[in-house]
């Protein structure tokens, strides 16, 4: 691999990694407030991609094909749809289990995930065939010296950075963010202090699902096509990224996502390793947890005796 290829791979890796980071944020935020892994998150990502798939032709009819404006509209609408779906899932499936053991909720989440996947595969819904994703953004090739960049290679990380900054702002600087942190710290105490816990949890799901939708579209732009199980692999990796970074920790999710994206991309370029791509993320996870059981940026908790 020469220097130029390394840079190219690095850019690809960071692009993929920033998508993982966006998805990982959803996992980590939900874990922060509810302490469980929302397995259905990866399917919301798929629903986001399909929303865009169906919305894009409609929007393009209105504002013309491949315009920036149209692209943004598709993103926003899909995010809004998925936010509603996320909140609905939380309300129907997880809220009744609020007081139950985490394991029960985890299995329910797996049930919800399977439900969405199998329903999506049904011929009357999306069908199980892979479909070509429409072009929703104008595409250009950019030459930087010897480097060849696709405009998407720039758009993806840019969108990610903007969203990350927005997330940071929401969580750290707004009232609702303060409430989220309070719920995450101690749900009972937060509710005693007048924080509307249910509404905050609902909001968290909505926010996470909107991010997943956007990540789903960004992922689909580069993917060969979309199908109802498309969320599983990126979902699994993002979720590993969240754990690697320290689950519940927002910067950790981003760090984990980028790390896994980059390592995976580089490993994909090495002939012997490329077959093991699916295992690499897990390999990283296991290595890191063995040395830092709470993840890279997670804090080890001392059990009170």
């Amino acid at each position: 691999m020469d220097f130029q290829q390394i840079i190219q791979q690095l850019i690809n890796g960071l692009g993929l990694g920033s998508i993982y980071a966006l998805i990982a944020l959803g996992y980590t935020m939900v874990y922060g407030v509810l302490r469980f892994i929302n397995f259905a998150h990866s399917d919301v990502l798929m629903l986001g991609a399909f929303s865009a798939f169906y919305l894009a032709p409609l929007v393009q009819k209105m504002v013309g094909p491949e315009s920036i404006m149209g692209g943004i509209l598709v993103f926003v609408l899909s995010a809004a749809i998925c936010a509603c779906i996320g909140m609905l899932i939380e309300f129907l499936a997880y809220r009744p289990l609020r007081k139950r053991p985490k394991l029960t909720v985890l299995i329910t989440a797996i049930g919800v995930s399977l439900f969405i996947e199998y329903t999506g595969q049904h011929a009357a819904v999306f069908g199980s065939a892979t479909r070509a994703f429409p072009k929703i953004l104008p595409e250009h090739q950019i030459h930087l010296g010897k480097l060849m960049l696709n405009s998407n290679d720039i758009i993806v990380p840019t969108v990610t950075i903007v969203l990350l900054a927005a997330m940071w702002f929401i969580v750290q600087k707004t009232r609702i963010g303060t409430a989220m942190r309070a719920v995450s710290f101690n749900q009972q105490a937060a509710s005693l202090m007048g924080v509307p816990v249910n509404r905050i949890i609902s909001f968290t799901f909505g926010l996470g699902s909107a991010l997943a939708a956007i990540a789903g579209i960004l992922y689909s732009i580069k993917a060969p096509g979309i199908e109802p199980l498309m969320g599983v692999q990126p979902g699994l990796r993002a979720f590993i990224a969240a754990v690697v970074g320290g689950i519940g920790n927002l910067p950790g999710a981003v760090l984990g996502g980028l790390l896994i994206g980059v390592v995976e991309t580089f490993a994909g370029g090495i002939p012997g390793l490329s077959n093991y791509r699916d295992a690499i993320a897990f390999g990283i996870l296991i290595l890191i947890l063995l040395f830092k059981p709470a993840g890279l940026l997670g804090r080890a908790t001392i059990e009170k005796v």
Binding site: L97, L103, L106, G111, Y118, T119, N275, F282, G283, I286
Partner: protein
């Protein structure tokens, strides 16, 4: 209470299994296949119950151990079959199963020692990870057919073997748990710190539970391989692990009888739903959700009090 006559039950179980096996010639192939699936599911669920239910260590990697045992046993059978007469090869079947189980146990030990230091969700994720790594390794190992799978495995599995070994599994798990030594598993489940201070080495117990569970999962894998005659890495993905976990949870985590019943029910259910084949998996998923909402402590649990015995 030590079950006096536990061994008697074991012998009855094996005898019934052998009888069923003799009668299986009269059975429709389809039902025979399902019956074998049920027996294998019982072994998988009961062995995972030792890890997840009794010891409280949430493992999502059981399908991985099943894969290890299945591939190893099948590979052995094919090797033996190539150099011995068919009769000898068939007689070596129990040895292949045992070897598959032991190999899975060894992998269980290698996986368990580092990962059992983690707790709860983290342990679940890491075991899921190991399970997936095992699958990917199988996918890339030419000796076991790589991605296209291992074909032409001789059909040695009979009802006698599956249900006989299911009886052995149930006997082993209940015997271990129903002893002063085995109460330690439950103690680890209840409170690790109190268990440690009562002289129970939590690490040791966890690893023992993990390795035992992996052994039986490996045996189940061997039975599965010689039943389906074909192994494909995709059959052992984490969804398979989750299926087994769901059996344990619906059975009531740590209740052997409940877990066996759930294993039977969840294996038969998709068959009952065959008429609605299009909606089958959707119904299956909905059922998981509703059962968790309505009967989270297990399908067959009617009292709130947890029974100590298995």
């Amino acid at each position: 209470m030590p079950l006096s006559g536990a061994k008697r039950w074991l012998i009855v179980g094996i005898a019934l299994a052998v009888l069923a096996s003799l009668g299986s010639g009269y059975m429709n192939r389809y039902y025979l296949g399902i019956a074998n699936d049920v027996g294998i599911a019982i072994i998988l669920a009961t062995s995972l119950n030792l890890i997840n239910g009794h010891t409280g260590q949430f493992s999502l990697g059981h399908a991985g151990f099943m894969a290890v045992g299945g591939y190893f046993a099948a590979w052995l059978s094919l090797k033996i079959g190539a150099s011995f007469s068919p009769q000898t090869a068939k007689a070596m079947f129990p040895l292949s199963l045992l070897a598959g189980g032991l190999f899975a146990a060894l992998i269980g030990l290698l996986v368990g020692v580092p990962s059992l230091r983690l707790k709860g969700d983290y342990l679940a994720i890491v075991t899921l990870g190991f399970g997936e790594i095992i699958r990917v390794v199988a996918q890339n190992t030419e000796a076991v057919g790589a991605a296209s799978g291992l074909k032409g495995i001789p059909q040695y599995t009979t009802l006698g073997w599956t249900f006989g070994l299911a009886a052995v599994t149930v006997y082993c798990v209940t015997s271990i748990v129903n002893s002063t030594y085995g109460r330690g598993f439950l103690a680890v489940h209840d409170d690790e710190i109190a268990a440690e201070s009562s002289g129970i080495s939590t690490t040791r117990y966890k690893v023992v539970a993990f390795v035992t569970g992996a052994f039986f999962a490996g045996v189940a894998g061997g039975l599965y391989a010689h039943h389906k005659q074909f192994l494909s890495p995709t059959g052992f993905d984490w969804i398979k692990s989750i299926e087994i976990v769901v059996m344990v949870i619906l059975g009531g985590m740590g209740r052997t009888v409940g877990v066996i019943a759930a294993a039977i029910l969840l294996t038969l259910l998709p068959e009952f739903l065959r008429e609605f084949s299009e909606y089958r998996m959707i119904i299956y998923a909905l059922m998981i959700i509703f059962l968790m909402l309505l009967r989270p402590g297990g399908l067959f649990v009617f009292k709130t009090k947890r029974r100590p015995t298995a």
